[in-house]
Symmetry: C2
Subunit: 72 residues, 2 copies
Amino acid sequence: MKDEILLKKVAARIRTIRIEKGMSQQELAAELDYEKSNMSRLESGTVNLKLTTLYKVAQALEVSMSELLDVE
Amino acid sequence: MKDEILLKKVAARIRTIRIEKGMSQQELAAELDYEKSNMSRLESGTVNLKLTTLYKVAQALEVSMSELLDVE
DNA sequence: TCATCAGTTATCAAATATGATAACTAAGGT
DNA sequence: ACCTTAGTTATCATATTTGATAACTGATGA
């Protein structure tokens, strides 16, 4: 799988789970001490997240990192 | 879990699996088109890997990213 | 002793993530 | 018409990863 595809898929997974949990980007961002704009960027799949960023997102969504990476 | 601990754990996991597969850092590095020095750095747990780097390592080790993140 | 292999550490330039701010669109409700 | 909420996009400075090179240690074998 090409890198960009991976990033898109992980981003989509984050968005899906966030919506499942009934959270807005803003709410999720707040838990992470992010700006909503950065949350949007994160879900756009244009950014190559670092491990600790993934970890923080997973915690805020109350899922494991593996669930966020469960792509294909 | 604090960030540094997470990074240490993931790094340790990578090392463990690499050794299980009977590979040297050099061999693994070769598969990734890395320098062995960077492989060492990666396993030192001092670096906050990006998603695509984790992905490449997982592929070279023939495991899923989840296996590398299966910490704690 | 000498050479090789495995790994570590430091350093550098280049690329990129991160955090912040701002301006914008679009939808809903009052 | 106005306001709020949700999300997007662009831009900036700063920090950090990445890739490369080099010098080093320690162990093992000829």
